[in-house]
Amino acid sequence: MTTDNGARILVVDDEPQIIKLLKVTLKAHRFDVLEAATGEQGIYQASISHPDLIVLDLGLPDMSGMDVLKRIREWSRVPVIVLTAKEREADKIEALDGGADDYVTKPFGMGELVARIRVALRHAGNVQQEPVLRFGGLVIDLAQRFVELNGSRVKLTPTEYELLKILASNAGKVITQRQLLQQVWGGHHHESDSHYLRIYIGHLRKKLEEDPTRPKLIETEPGIGYRFLLQEQAE
């Protein structure tokens, strides 16, 4: 994780207390912290100081965080992690489908936020994908299209394999149901197809997880989507 050190993080939030907290903690984790108290300032800062990652509060005084995200996404692929209130599932989905890389629900634990930042930074830096993904006993060979669990092959249907591939290549990041549907089924899906998705995830868990009710690989983000857990997250 040493590569993350020194990464420049822009915090866009109107609450001085949150800014202060993030500044102190992120600096302690050796990140470089920039701050912006309004959406306009955030967009401006993002354009002039080229941060490596943006932590964006969705509730800003001057404009909606969603609009800030849209404006930034017009010209930048910089990873964005949004901060939201708990009950706002719809906001989270909108932000994630609108280009945010991940979300953290307020109130959040610092460990959680730092973990999300690290994952997002890693995925942003990692343009070239490894042909073989390894997660503990699970091996996914993207070149040969096979999956091994604790040394033995696991038989997956094409759809299950596609799902696993997308989740695992984004390990640590949340993937919304819509993103999964779009990537696996292409343009031919309906919102109502999300229950097929659930069935497939159920099948995958049955084939890969020791105990499907205590998943260690594919975690459900209720109402949002799924997250392939990095091994440190599963502990």
Binding site: E87, E89, R145, K155, L156, T157, P158, H195, P222
Partner: protein, 526 residues
């Protein structure tokens, strides 16, 4: 006049009917004369005169006084012409017969008027009976109706049918101004005319009748009856009267209707007020409970947070690394507890204000329980969580975020009220058209009365004494489960402890046949 009286009066005015009755009397008298003439001289003339009283009585009873008098006259003439010497002449030989005629006429007039009065009385009795029946029906209907509008419309229709006139009922509206509240069909502007409204207002303010044939505005083509009980006036009923006024009887009836309507309105108003008073008392009770609960539940964690934080700031260097860790953990736990409280409070507000919108999607019980287990991992300590899942896992429509919240609440309770190291069993299965998810603990158990009330807001069982909580969690669970059309119940476990079961409608996932098959066929992965 009542409906029947009106119709009889109308018939009496009907010339055809009158002619008919006079015709029948003429024919009858002629027939009687013919019979008497055939046998006539066997009778004494006095008896003959008496026999001529029959048509008189008959007419009096069936047609009233005027036909009876006509019958008497016809009788006298026939008697004189055919039976009094000289026969076949109206002249009278024996002047004593004139006295007989006089007596006959007097007797005829007297009996006729008596019979007619009897008939009228019978008719009145019938009318009264009809009025009483109308009042009775109305009063019976009114006790069954609890909506003022429906009630008034009912009254307007019935009164209108009874007095054969248009009815408009006024009630004070929101700004205490009289408004048309109900009316019988065919109100063509009468009820809304300025003059009508003005009189109605006067009647409402003074609580006295006005309009047609009353001391106030006697010439106005309408009668205004206040709807009043002993204490106050609730509104005004107006009868539109184009032609003649109402008979005293009908006015009395109208007043009776007015009184009935007033007491019905009073009854509805009182029950509304009582309901409101009950609600106010209830919300007062809940507010007090909320304040108690919230102030206690907020202050306790706040005290630990402030205490620990100030301790750490002021006593820097005094604490060992372990002490510091402990104080920091206290701060975290206090804050988490406050977070739970705020979440529950917001949840309750959402539920109560009807802002809770379900996002129904197909849920996988296994998936939901998995999320719940990871949520409670932080505070289950050494309690063992066992999952008994039906294979395949139940699959049903629901809001997974809210249902997860429900289960987290129930499982947290199970953890809270059972000793460390015990087992908590979570099971999910489909039975019939229901999906049942049950959480069983080996805890202190709940007695029967509490099992009913534990899902009430702010209710905390006697066993809850030492543990923390707001008494909101299970109330929210109940609200969410019921919003799904399901039920939540608690029952004792065979040995010890409690089982909380939520039952949710299973629904039918519209899984196309062959969809799965196709998928298996494409299975070409190693």
């Amino acid at each position: 006049m009542g409906k029947k009286a009106m119709s009889v009066a109308a018939i009496e005015r009907n010339g055809k009917f009158m002619l008919k009755s006079y015709g029948w009397i003429t024919v009858g008298t002629a027939a009687l004369t013919a019979v008497l003439h055939a046998f006539g001289f066997a009778f004494d003339p006095v008896n003959i005169a008496l026999l001529y009283l029959f048509p008189v009585l008959f007419s009096a009873v069936y047609w009233g006084l005027a036909p009876a008098i006509y019958a008497a006259a016809a009788g006298v003439l026939a008697f004189d012409y055919f039976f009094v010497p000289p026969f076949l002449s109206f002249s009278v030989e024996d002047l004593r017969y004139l006295l007989s005629f006089g007596v006959y006429l007097a007797v005829a007039a007297l009996t006729a008027s008596l019979a007619a009065r009897l008939r009228r009385q019978a008719q009145l009795a019938k009318e009264r009976e009809a009025h009483t029946a109308a009042l009775y029906t109305l009063s019976r209907q009114m006790t069954a109706i609890n909506d003022i509008r429906v009630l008034l419309e009912n009254i307007a229709l019935r009164v209108s049918a009874t007095v054969q006139a248009q009815i408009v009922i006024y009630l004070p509206g929101e700004r205490a101004e009289l408004e048309r509240a109900a009316w019988s069909p065919g109100d063509n502007g009468f009820g809304e005319a300025e003059s009508t409204m003005a009189i109605a207002k006067w009647v409402f303010e003074h609580g006295r009748m006005a309009g047609k044939d009353t001391g106030t505005l006697g010439e106005f083509p309408g009668l205004f009856v206040p709807l009043r009980t002993e204490e106050r006036t609730y509104g005004v009923m107006t009868v539109r009267l184009e032609g003649e006024g109402l008979a005293t009887d009908d006015r009395n009836l109208l007043e009776a209707f007015g009184g009935l309507a007033a007491s019905a309105i009073a009854r509805v108003k009182l029950s509304e007020e009582a309901k409101l008073a009950h609600l106010t008392a209830e919300s007062e009770r809940i507010r007090t409970a909320l304040l108690d609960s919230v102030s206690h539940e907020l202050r306790t964690p706040l005290a630990t947070i402030i205490g620990s934080a100030t301790g750490l700031i002021d006593g820097d260097g005094v604490f060992s690394a372990e002490d510091r860790q402990e104080l920091l953990a206290t701060i975290r736990d206090g804050a988490l507890r406050m977070n739970l409280l705020v979440t529950n409070l917001l949840g309750m507000v959402k539920l109560e204000s009807g802002m809770l919108a379900l996002r129904r999607e197909w849920c996988d019980a296994e998936d939901i329980i998995g999320v719940v287990l990871s949520q409670v991992k932080g505070f289950q300590q050494r309690r063992r969580m066992t999952v008994k899942m039906q294979d395949p896992a139940p699959y049903f429509p629901g809001d997974e975020v809210l249902l997860e919240q429900v289960l987290v609440n129930i499982v947290s309770n199970a953890i809270k009220y059972s000793p460390d190291g015990e087992e908590i069993v979570i099971s999910a299965r489909t039975s019939g058209s229901w999906v049942r998810i049950a959480v069983a603990d080996n805890g202190i158990g709940i007695n029967e009365t509490d099992r009913e009330r534990m899902f009430d807001k702010f209710y905390r069982g006697p066993g809850a004494g030492g543990t923390t909580g707001t008494g909101l969690g299970l109330a929210i669970c109940k609200g969410i489960v019921e919003a799904h059309g399901g039920t939540i119940t608690a029952s004792p476990r065979a040995e010890k402890g409690t089982v909380v079961t939520i039952a949710l409608p299973a629904g039918e996932p519209e899984m196309p046949q062959g969809w799965k098959q196709r998928e298996e066929e494409r299975d070409d992965n190693g």
